[in-house]
Symmetry: C2
C-alpha cells in the first residue's frame, strides 16, 4: 500500500483518544499537521484552519475531518476541490443532501472520499457479515444502551439539532446492522423520547422489517446506569448469532468465535490507505439515512428534562 501524508482537521476528544494512536500504528500514514482554531499537538505544525494548513503544506495528500458535524461539508468540499483525499468522521454530514454533493464532488475530482463508520471495523463484524451473507434472517434484536453522563460528559451539543441524541451511539449499531444483514431494512414504527429541554431523543424504540418480512427491533437508551450494553442478536434458520460488546465478541450457537480487543480506528486508517491506493471512494449513507428516517417517521413523546 502506498504511503500518504495526512492533515487532521479538528483536534478534539475523538482525535486524541482514537485517531492519534491509530495513525501512529499505521506505518504508511504520515501525520504532517493539524488545523484547529483552539488547540494543536506538541511537535507538529498547527494552523487555525484547513486552508492555512493546506497553503503551508501543499504536499499533504489527505485530510481527516473530525470537526463538529455542521462544519464538515464546507471543509470536506474545500479539501476535495484542492485534490485531497478525505476521511469523514461519522456521521459524514449534518444532512443527507450535503453528503450526496460531496460524493459527486469527489467523483468529479478523482480523489477518494471515505465515510468512516468506525464500528464496522470492530473485531467480529467481518465474520458476522460473512456468516449471514448466505442466510435468511428471521429476527434481530439490537440493544444499544449506555449512561450519557459517563460516555458524553458535558457534551451539550448532543441535545441540540444535529447532535442526534441517543442516535449518536445508536448510529454505530445501525452502521453494523446495515453492514452485516443480508437484506436492506426499513423503519415501520419508532417511538422517540425527547427530554422537555432538548431537541434530540434520549431513548428510541425502533421496529424495522426487511423485504422478506424479518422483524428487526432496536432499543437505544442513554439512561442506563452501570456498564453499557452494545449488543445484537440475530436469529437465522435455527441458529443464533450474537455480536456483543460493540462487536468485540462474536458467538454463534454458544460457540465463541471471536473475543478480542477493539482496534477499530486502526482498521479504519488501513481501509483509507487501501481506498487511496485503489483510487476508490466508499461512502455508504445507509446509517445516516436510517437516522433521518427515524426523525422523519418516528413518533415523538416528551419526557423528563435532562439535567447533567
Amino acid at each position: 500500500m502506498s504511503d500518504f501524508t495526512l492533515g487532521l482537521v479538528g483536534v478534539g476528544k475523538i482525535v486524541r483518544d482514537q485517531h492519534l494512536p491509530a495513525i501512529a500504528a499505521t506505518p504508511n500514514c504520515h501525520l504532517v499537521a493539524t488545523a484547529d482554531p483552539y488547540t494543536s499537538l506538541p511537535d507538529l505544525p498547527g494552523y487555525q484552519g484547513l486552508e492555512a494548513m493546506l497553503d503551508a503544506h501543499p504536499d499533504i495528500d489527505a485530510v481527516a475531518i473530525c470537526t463538529p458535524t455542521h462544519l464538515r461539508y464546507s471543509q470536506a468540499r474545500a479539501a476535495l476541490l484542492r485534490g485531497k483525499h478525505v476521511l469523514l468522521e461519522k456521521p459524514p454530514g449534518a444532512t443527507l443532501s450535503e453528503v450526496e454533493d460531496l460524493i459527486a464532488t469527489a467523483s468529479r475530482q478523482g480523489v477518494s472520499l471515505f465515510a468512516a463508520w468506525h464500528s464496522r471495523f470492530a473485531p467480529g463484524v467481518a465474520q458476522a457479515r460473512k456468516w449471514l451473507s448466505e442466510r435468511q434472517v428471521q429476527r434481530v434484536e439490537i440493544e444499544w444502551k449506555e449512561d450519557v453522563r459517563v460516555w458524553h460528559p458535558g457534551q451539550a451539543w448532543i441535545w441540540e439539532v444535529g447532535g442526534m441524541g441517543v442516535f449518536d451511539p445508536g448510529i454505530n449499531a445501525l452502521s453494523i446492522a446495515t453492514a452485516i444483514l443480508p437484506q436492506p431494512f426499513f423503519l415501520q414504527k419508532a417511538r422517540l423520547q425527547v427530554p422537555s429541554n432538548a431537541q434530540t431523543p434520549i431513548a428510541a424504540e425502533l421496529s424495522f422489517t426487511d423485504p422478506e418480512g424479518a422483524l428487526i427491533e432496536a432499543d437505544f437508551d442513554f439512561r442506563q446506569p452501570g456498564p453499557p450494553t452494545w449488543d445484537m442478536h440475530i436469529d437465522s434458520d435455527g441458529s443464533r448469532l450474537s455480536l456483543t460488546q460493540g462487536g468485540c465478541r462474536l458467538v454463534i450457537d454458544d460457540d465463541v468465535l471471536i473475543d478480542a480487543e477493539e482496534r477499530e480506528y486502526q482498521g479504519l486508517y488501513a481501509r483509507f490507505g487501501e481506498l487511496i491506493t485503489k483510487k476508490r471512494s466508499e461512502v455508504d449513507v445507509a446509517p445516516l439515512r436510517q437516522v433521518a428516517d427515524a426523525f422523519l417517521y418516528g413518533h415523538r413523546e416528551t419526557t423528563d428534562a435532562f439535567i447533567e
Copy 2:
C-alpha cells in the same frame, strides 16, 4: 409511444380529482381496473387489493400507487416483482430507505419505476429550468402558504407521523426547486412549528445554501387565510425569475413568459408512458431527502394546538 394498460391502486380524492381526468386525456393509457378495499369506480372492475386485481388481469402492464404513504412500499414491491411498471404518487415512500430498495428492485426486474412529482409538470417549470441552467443563482425566496382547512379538510393523517404536516404541500415547492436550480442545495437552519396536539409541523422556515454560497429561503405555512401563495422568486445575475401560482405563471424581469392552466397530471402520465417505452426509471429522491433533512436538522418549537 406504445400503448399500456393500467391498474389504479387506491381510489381516493387525488385519484378522482386528478388521475382519472389525466388518464382519460392520455390516449395510449388504458385504465383496466382498480384496487381499493373501500371503493371502486362505475363501469370498471374493482378489487379489494393489488394481488387480486393482478390475478384477475394478468395483462395489466402498469400500476399507479395512490394509497396512504405507509402502504406504498409493499404494494410497489409486489407489483415490481410481478413485472409491472410502477408509478408512485408523491412522496414515493414513508422513508428514504424503502424507496432505495424499490429503485434496486425495479432495476433487477427490468421494469420502469416513476416517482411522480406532479408539480414538476406545472406549465412554467421546464422553461424556468432551461433559463436557469446556465446561470449563477444569488438568492431564492420560496413562499408556500395555504389554509389547511380549505386544502386538506378533515385530513387528520397530515398531523400524524408520515403525514409530514406543512411539508405535504411544501414538498411540491422542494420538488420544483430541486428540478430548476442549477446546483444542489443543503439545509443550514430550520425552524419547525409543531402544534401541541400534532406530530408534524404547521409551519416551517428553512434556510439553505448551495456550493456557491447562494441564499435559499423557504417559508411554508398552513395558516394562511384566503387565497394560497405558491410562489418562488430567483435572483440571478441582475435578473429576477418569478415562478408563481404553483408554477403556472413564469415572469422574468417583468416579461410574462407563461400564464397557463395547470395540467400537471397529464404531463405526468405522458412522462410515465415515455419511461415505459424507453425502458427507463425516474426516481429522484431529492425532494423527500430535503424533507428528511429538515426533520433531522430542524429546530422544533411547540405552537398552539390545531383544532379543525
